[in-house]
Assembly symmetry: C2
Homo-oligomer: 210 residues x 2
DNA sequence: GATTGACTCGTACGGCGTACCATGCGACTG
DNA sequence: CAGTCGCATGGTACGCCGTACGAGTCAATC
């Protein structure tokens, strides 16, 4: 007989996976090295054999959330717009599944999964005939749009506790911000639809030989 | 004779201004309540009379960076596109002057300065004839674009120390990410130009009755 | 002179990231 | 078989953090 089912050995992968779980459950502030070690059934300092420091854990957790498996059916379709939309919507969805990831984006290095998504995007646009001079701009514009949309959305998601608060605050300020109030900009928004529609507008602007 | 030039009294405004200075000088991590109090020549706990907690300081510091004084010449020009571009470029510039502000954006409440910028944007677009059904999408798209662009840029700015590092890492990965490498996506970019150009593309897509 | 309210701050507590160092263990060496 | 060496684990301790608590100062008011 062994010990009553001891934990599997530590590993970078297990640490990162558990960190993601923990952040999902307790939020970013709840992710501390001590709690992480607890969840792993190990001592705190053991983590540091596999990981440089806490920043490292953040970097790895962020990147691990951003894997991309490509479009569903056979690749290499002619529909470049569909490919772009699919990848970017998946990007956003992956991050919204782990809302803390949005607040991790600033100041973090580009992990391999981000890079390979950018590589894919470059490829699609390049084959679609976007002029070389516009390519970088196109890539950055799309990236920026997705990041901004995701961060905004995650932001509002998180302040769910404060939604009534927000609503009240806005009601009190409706004279000061009448247009916002009138357009109900911050309330009952169809986020997914708005994301898709805005992405469409952007792609309209970016389309080659328009 | 007085004390050798004692500090002026504490105030919310002075605290916020000093917090901004401190974050500029030492980065976000360098902004601690103790250091802030030191710089103000006061005891740590005195801050808490004027401020709820550290989160409050963050919120106030972020919003204080985002004041907008409007376009240079007389307002109410017919050139709605120019007005939009001016405000958004100023927005981005304001944040880049304080790169830490970008990493504060996620998870923060909308302060009065952000709201009044959104209000202004709504007004301009609405008067420019953007359809009501598209208005929210247009506002969010522009906001998202600006936020994403600012965060990306600030990110790269901050990793200036790691620029050589990044360059090296990319060189080592050029087989894995050939298109990125070829387009020099991450190197010697004209950020300001790319921002302006991408914004132009987006506005092209958003323009009313296209 | 007593009371009050606005304001300041010293002390202390619990929690954090992590440096340092001792330990356990399996594999390889002689 | 004894000795050595690497990988891997984790206990202790340090310095720093945010901030609760409550005592102190001081000017205005009655």
């Amino acid at each position: 007989m062994q010990e009553p089912r001891s934990e599997p050995p530590l590993s970078r992968e297990r640490i990162v996976a558990t960190a993601v779980e923990l952040a999902d459950a307790q939020g970013l502030d709840g992710l501390t090295m001590r709690r992480l070690a607890d969840r792993l059934g190990s001592g705190v300092m053991s983590l540091y054999w596999h990981v440089d420091n806490k920043e490292d854990v953040f970097d790895l957790a962020l990147d691990s959330v951003l894997e991309y498996r490509g479009p569903p059916q056979m690749a290499e379709s002619q529909d470049w717009r569909g490919q772009v939309v699919h990848m970017l919507e998946d990007w956003r969805a992956s991050m919204l599944r782990h809302p803390w990831s949005a607040s991790l984006l600033p100041r973090r290095a580009l992990g391999p999964n981000i890079l390979s998504r950018l590589e894919l995007l470059s490829n699609i646009l390049s084959r679609a005939g976007v002029a070389d001079a516009d390519l970088n701009v196109a890539i950055w514009s799309l990236w920026n749009y997705v990041m901004g949309a995701t961060i905004s959305r995650a932001n509002f998601d998180l302040s769910d506790d404060g939604r009534a608060d927000t609503q009240q605050r806005l009601a009190g300020l409706s004279e000061r911000y009448p247009t916002i109030e009138r357009s109900r900009l911050l309330l009952d928004n169809d986020w997914d639809g708005a994301f898709r529609k805005g992405l469409g507008f952007l792609l309209d602007g970016l389309s080659p030989r328009r």
